[in-house]
Amino acid sequence: MSVAIDPATVSAVTPERARRQKDPKESYRPNWTTTILLILASLTVLIPLYFAIAMSLKTAAEAASGTGLSWPWPMQFGNFAEAWTLTDFPRAFIISLLISVVSVAGAIVLSSLASYAIARNWDHRGFRYSYFYLLAAMFIPFPVIALPQIKLTAAVNLDNPLGVALLHIMFQLSFSVLLYSAFLRSIPHELEESARIDGATTWQVFWKLIFPLLAPMNATVGIFAFLASWNDFMMPSLITADSRLQTLPVVQNIFQQQFNTEYNVAFASYLMAMAPTILVYIFAQRWVLSGVTRGAIK
């Protein structure tokens, strides 16, 4: 079944593909000036990362003196163990992961269902207005409604990671609905009609036919939801009342308070906080980039 749909999916990436296929045919003379300029520019990304790695392997004395750019020898891997226990890394990591997973799942399920209902009932005023209602939130940033939200979440016992995940889903909803609605328009109606003739209910049509077809958009929505949720500092730090339930980015602030001379341990901790997404990104680079590019084109 999914093979039949491929044209719709492929059409979204055609320009890219066409270009890529064209390249080998042309005489490929690399532009070395541009290449060298870009390599130099890439140092602005690489040097801070190198610096973080170098710092995390120093002794406290080495880290407190000099520019911090020299490579330490011998390397102090013990810093990571110390940072691990200081921040209670496994707990913060699991809480971050839980929030992110719930956010991703929630954003995908809630907005794909809503978008499908809206797209198939566009002729009805209620659904059309719902679309604009959900989209209007793009102009409501978190700080605008933060104060009442903090009070409300506390009042209904959601001043915890679950509440944070719920808010992450809500702030992701506008963008996700926008992406899904654009994509749903490209899915031909005949497919659904034929499934209905075979006796499928709307519920089955959605989960067995539409949802699998939405796979590329699910990936895009999921990547955006994950990055926004995993890296967020503002909402968990303001919503979660219990400091033992804080996420990985938030727990890094302990180094701003009591341990501010131990830069080496702090940087070991920063590195561990950055590592998960960087590693996933490096291994899934092609997939992640095609996902976010799809978001950009829509």
């Binding site: 290449t35 990304v45 104060l147 009442p148 809500m170 909803l173 701003q256």
Partner: protein, 305 residues
């Protein structure tokens, strides 16, 4: 039947996007299950976003301090906002910072996108590197840059740290915010550049358009729409600057880098809850107005480019 159909078409005509019309016209009734599909999103959204927004607007016309009783004071909070130097300076800083950052991000991202889109060596690796900042948490990278600005740079250059210089501290926030925001802007520009057909450049080069001329006469006009997207999205995000400031200067030195978002959050601890809610309402209006202004100004310019 014909009359109904044509009226329906007319009614729908203004909205450009009319998905899923074919095959549906003969079926005016909505299948109940679609309400069930839509309901969870609308209900949760109303509770989590709309309700707090309404509560906030309500408190903004009271003298509520966050607990206890309160009275209605009309627009007193709003009037006070416009003469409060702390509020005005936070808006001044936030707008200025956002403006500089959005220009820097767009200029650098467009340059990098053009570079990454040209015939270069190590294309995949370079793209991979430039997108790394996108996956890193803002607060963590701000902590890393904090040390670079306060220790490494002063040691290398023999000058003081820009983080404690009231005139330069904002620059550190621009740098780190740009560092983190450039990748997503590059992605949007790459999408725009890929949409320009090769033939346009070939035709242009026959007429002698190369290098800078090619950029101003072909590339720039054709990615103008993407400049709009990046400007609106970027500016909207930068107005909410929070965690990078927390990680770098924490609003200091003094209140030199205190953003609007940070000021609003003080409403929770400083007892002026209602006052900061009025600030939040103004901030929302500013966000919307700025976005609309940008869309219109840049659209108009985009045509004549």
């Amino acid at each position: 039947m014909t009359a109904t159909a044509s009226r329906g078409t007319q009614r729908r005509a203004p909205s450009a996007d009319t998905p899923a019309r074919a095959g549906r016209t003969g079926k005016p009734r909505v299948e109940p299950i679609f309400y069930a599909f839509l309901f969870p999103a609308i209900a949760l959204f109303s509770l989590a976003i709309t309700l707090p927004a309404l509560i906030g607007m309500f408190y903004s016309v009271t003298d509520y301090v966050g607990f206890g009783e309160y009275d209605f004071i009309g627009f007193g909070n709003y009037a006070a906002l416009f003469t409060d130097p702390r509020i005005l300076s936070s808006y001044g800083f936030t707008m200025g910072f956002s403006l500089v950052t959005v220009i820097a991000v767009n200029a650098i991202a467009l340059a990098l996108a053009i570079g990454l889109n040209s015939k270069i060596k190590f294309k995949t690796a370079l793209r991979g590197i430039f997108f790394i900042p996108m996956v890193i948490s803002g607060i963590v990278i701000a902590y890393v840059f904090n040390y670079l600005f306060s220790n490494t740079l002063p040691t290398l250059t023999g000058t003081g740290s820009i983080l404690v210089d009231p005139n330069l501290a904002w620059l550190s926030i621009v740098i780190v915010t740009a560092w983190q925001s450039i990748p997503s802007a590059i992605i949007i520009y790459l999408a725009g550049l890929l949409a320009i057909p090769e033939e346009v450049y070939e035709a242009g080069s026959l007429d002698g358009a190369t290098g800078w001329r090619q950029f101003t006469s072909i590339t720039l006009p054709l990615v103008a729409g993407y400049v709009v997207i990046n400007t609106v999205l970027g500016f909207k995000g930068f107005l909410n600057a929070y965690e990078i400031i927390i990680g770098l200067t924490n609003g200091g030195p003094g209140t030199a880098t205190f953003s609007v978002a940070m000021t609003i959050f003080t409403g929770f601890t400083s007892g002026d809850y209602a006052y900061q809610m009025a600030n939040a309402v103004i901030f929302f209006i500013v966000t919307v107005v700025v976005s609309i202004l940008q869309l219109q100004l840049i659209r108009r310019r985009g045509v004549s480019l």
